[in-house]
């Protein structure tokens, strides 16, 4: 795509993205408020003792007594200024809460995504190159196994194996707390904690990418331009790298882009099993405590991340595949 078209493209996609995100926020807001129960009753219930006045006070303080559309309007105004409201349960602005725990989720999903994509594509390509041999069937079986296994169960089994029996890796948390580590030691410590959760989240998507890469590689290998390359006397290795792989990666990139957004869903499960302080776990706790502001905040972030991922994928795709005239 010619660089001259980039600003126009970004403007169009930006506008479209904004509309989609706004629609999501409004839809979520209405959905959550349609649900029975509200934060006031939660806090009243959990604070050991409560009476009518206490409840009314809480409701008034949370602004829940105002009509729904007014609440929605207040919330939307807030969202535009990135003030995602106030978490009554944690007595903290939502943005602060999310900002605190977003890096952990980004680290987890990013590591899982990178691991899944790199290993998935390599294994997929290997299986395609040696199609029909034992290597191919082994990779296919392994991929199918992790594709068919529930993520949380994989997590549990990894904890059971690596942490409980072998005691190689820590089974929870993001870092050993209390022990003041700095610089490389701290990084290593977080890395050690990251291995099992990232593997758990990554293995499922590794299977997906491996199967997809193998399928597209086999499909592209049938195409005419591969035969042309061989007719030119191009050595087999170069045929696979420069011709087959490059074309086979296009659908994998698109799929990876769309899937990236779904990693957040997976992170809820992984963060629960591994006590990873991310926004997946935050969303789940907020859900159980009916803390709407936090819930909406997490949805807002996840939808922004998904839209960004889709934008990135389209851009990457336009760069890799010249045929694509990227429209708004």
């Amino acid at each position: 795509m010619e660089p001259s078209r980039l600003p126009g493209f970004l403007l169009r996609r930006g506008a479209k993205a904004a509309i989609v995100i706004l629609a999501i926020v409004v839809c979520n807001f209405l959905l959550i408020h349609a649900a029975p129960g509200d934060p006031a009753s939660v806090i009243a219930g959990q604070s050991g003792a409560a009476d009518e006045r206490f409840l009314a006070q809480l409701r008034e303080q949370f602004g829940l007594d105002k009509p729904l559309h007014v609440q929605l309007w207040i919330y939307l105004k807030g969202v535009l200024t990135l003030d995602l409201g106030f978490s009554h349960r944690q007595q903290q602005p939502v943005w602060g809460l999310i900002a605190e725990r977003l890096p952990a989720t980004l680290l987890l999903t990013g590591a899982a995504f990178a691991f899944a994509l790199a290993a998935g594509v390599t294994l997929g390509a290997l299986a395609a190159r040696r199609v029909g041999t034992w290597a191919d069937s082994l990779i296919t079986v392994v991929a199918l196994t992790f594709y068919a296994t529930p993520i949380f169960w994989v997590g549990l089994m990894l904890v059971l194996f690596f942490s409980v029996w072998l005691e190689w890796l820590p089974s929870f948390g993001m870092a050993t707390v209390g022990v003041e580590l700095t610089g490389v030691a701290a990084v290593l410590d977080v890395a050690k904690h990251l291995v099992l959760p990232a593997a758990t989240l990554g293995l499922f998507y590794l299977a997906v990418y491996a199967r997809l890469t193998r399928a597209t590689m086999l499909e592209v290998a049938d195409q005419d331009f591969v035969k042309t390359a061989r007719a030119k006397g191009v050595p087999e290795g170069q045929v696979v790298r420069r011709h087959v792989l490059r074309n086979a990666l296009l659908p994998v990139i698109t799929f990876a882009g769309i899937q990236a957004g779904q990693l957040i869903g997976g992170s809820i499960l992984v963060e629960t099993v591994f006590a990873w302080p991310g926004i997946g776990r935050l969303a789940f706790d907020a859900l159980l405590a009916r803390d709407y502001a936090v819930l909406l905040g997490v949805f807002f972030c996840t939808s922004v991340m998904v839209v960004l991922f889709n934008l990135l994928t389209d851009l990457l795709y336009a760069v890799v595949d010249p045929r694509v005239e990227v429209e708004g």
Binding site: F225, K227, K232, G233
Partner: protein, 535 residues
């Protein structure tokens, strides 16, 4: 000593095929500076032979016996690496489908340079690219080199393929039906280009084709193949004018030529008239982006009289098919009138069209896509009449009769389309159209996808039906030979407009419009009139 000598080459088919060997006991030669045409219908094994020489046989097929001696060495004895070093350097190959023959995500110049670089040409490779592109007569070589393949037309891509193949001056060029997918005019340019380069560099060329016109145009020597065997081989003039082997004689007899039957008197009533029909396609650009327009049909008025066959002739993109589809409302033209026996069909609603559906029917091009794979043949034919209220039993009985009319055995009623050959399916398509007993039949390239021999049979069937039922026909084709044989009058179309129309003999004999002349010149082997073969 000849450049390429193939001796008793035999390649086996995987078990379960329709015959044990793909090709059997093939012996042929190609000398430097000579074009050998290997001709045969689909399934004859001509491509397998070409691929065997290049060592590019698909995994399932293995060479059983024979030798391929090239420049004194038996290629079959070479190691894969040895063979690889020859490919692209000493012998090269170009393929049939230009649209998919180039890597879509790599610049054209890069792909040509790669051909040289893999044979050790280093930095010098990039420098020679523009020179090669100019040699194949591509306008603005520098821009073409930087462009990506999807920006080039079919013809331009084939020229790139030729430049790529001849980059290292190979002594043998194998061309596997390089012009079959191209338009007539582009095909002629490519044939002349190959001829010119071949004579300039003395390259030996092994040219694979199924079109005897092309053979007549460029072949020095010819080898005719059937079911994996060479049935006849010799100088072009001998084979074309004095074919010995019955199969060759049948093939040549099937080449369409000769004049149509007596044209109906010009006083016959007008059935169909198109006036001022216009159709424009707007590409869905972005919200703000430019909206390029393609005017598919504009000045295309014509008249069709009862019992007459009008041919709409032109290259792909000329709008002939769109015009035909406007008549049956598969395409909605913006302006103009389509008068059928005086009534204007264009503005009619879907319900208002229903009575006319019985009176205008259509036959389609691709035999493999024009029949619903999930329904039995009997139902496909009877479906039309049943929709228009005919009782089921009567419709099915009528379908059985029609199968006989199109020379298919009645047992076909219960079978599914995938159990029939291309030619048979086309007959079923015709039977389906005739079931409605139409007055006007629109045939959109009915035989283009068929082999020559099968093509002849279907055209004969159409001629017979037309005579017997007095059918009026609008015949769309890009093959001028077929048009000459079938049509009473011809309308030549270019870029959406009819540039010339008149009785076939006049248009072929004394073409007035320059484009018509260029079209006629591009008919391969125009000089050769196939000998009349005694049946």
């Amino acid at each position: 000593m000849s450049l390429l000598k193939v001796e008793n080459l035999t390649v086996a088919l995987p078990p379960g095929g329709d015959r044990p060997h793909a090709i059997e006991d093939i012996t042929l030669e190609v000398d430097a500076g000579e074009i050998l045409c290997v001709v045969g219908e689909s399934g004859s094994g001509k491509s397998i032979t070409a691929n065997a020489v290049m060592g590019l046989l698909p995994k399932g097929l293995a060479v059983k016996a024979g030798r391929i001696v090239f420049e004194g060495r038996d290629l079959l004895a070479l190691s894969p690496e040895g063979m690889r070093r020859l490919r692209g350097a000493r012998l090269a190959m170009i393929f049939q489908e230009p649209m998919t023959a180039l890597n879509p995500v790599m610049r054209v110049g890069e792909q040509i340079a790669e051909a040289m670089r893999v044979h050790g040409a280093g930095a010098e490779a990039a420098r020679r690219v523009p020179e090669l592109l100019a040699a194949v007569k591509l306008p603005d070589p520098a821009a073409t080199a930087r462009a990506y393949p999807f920006r080039l037309s079919g013809g331009q891509r084939q020229r790139v393929m030729i430049a790529m193949a001849l980059a290292l001056e190979p002594s043998l060029l194998i061309a596997d039906e390089p012009t079959t997918a191209l338009d007539v005019t582009t095909q002629m340019q490519i044939l002349r280009l190959i001829r010119e380069i071949q004579s300039r560099r003395g390259t030996g060329v092994m040219f694979i084709t199924h079109d005897f016109g092309v053979v007549a145009e460029i072949a020095d020597r010819v080898a005719v193949m059937q079911h994996g065997r060479i049935v006849e081989q010799g100088p072009a003039a001998e084979i074309l004018n004095r074919p010995q082997h019955p199969y060759t004689r049948a093939l040549i007899a099937a080449v369409p030529q000769g004049a149509p039957g007596s044209a109906p008197p010009s006083s016959a009533p007008v059935i169909l008239e198109a006036k001022g029909v216009e159709k424009t396609y707007r590409r869905t650009g972005g919200w703000f982006g430019p909206k390029p327009e393609v005017r598919a049909v504009h000045h295309a008025d014509f008249v069709l009289r009862k019992g007459e066959t009008l041919g709409l002739v032109g290259e792909s993109g000329s709008g002939k098919s769109t015009l035909a589809r406007c008549v049956v409302k598969l395409v909605e033209p913006e302006k103009g009138e389509i008068l059928f026996e005086g009534a204007d069909l264009r503005p009619l609603s879907r319900r208002a069209w229903k009575p006319f559906r019985k009176r205008i029917q259509m036959v389609f091009q691709d035999p493999f896509a024009s029949l619903n794979p999930r329904r039995r043949v009997g139902e496909i034919i009877a479906e039309g009449p049943i929709t228009h209220g005919a009782p089921r039993a009567a419709a099915l009985a009528r379908a059985r009769e029609l199968l006989a009319l199109v020379q298919l055995d009645p047992g076909a009623m219960e079978r599914y389309p995938h159990e029939f050959s291309g030619g048979q399916r086309q007959r079923i398509g015709i039977a389906r159209a005739l079931a409605m007993e139409p007055e006007l039949l629109i045939a959109d390239e009915p035989v283009s996808a068929l082999d020559v021999s099968v093509q002849a049979q279907v055209l004969a069937l159409l001629a017979d039906i037309r005579a017997r039922l007095g059918l009026t026909m609008l015949f769309i084709t890009h093959d001028l030979r077929v048009a000459a044989q079938v049509c009473d009058r011809i309308a030549v179309m270019q870029h959406g407009a009819i540039v010339e129309q008149g009785p076939t003999a006049e248009v072929f004999g004394a073409p007035r419009h320059p484009y018509t002349r260029q079209l006629l010149d591009s008919i391969p082997g125009r000089g050769w009139t196939p000998p009349v073969i005694a049946a």
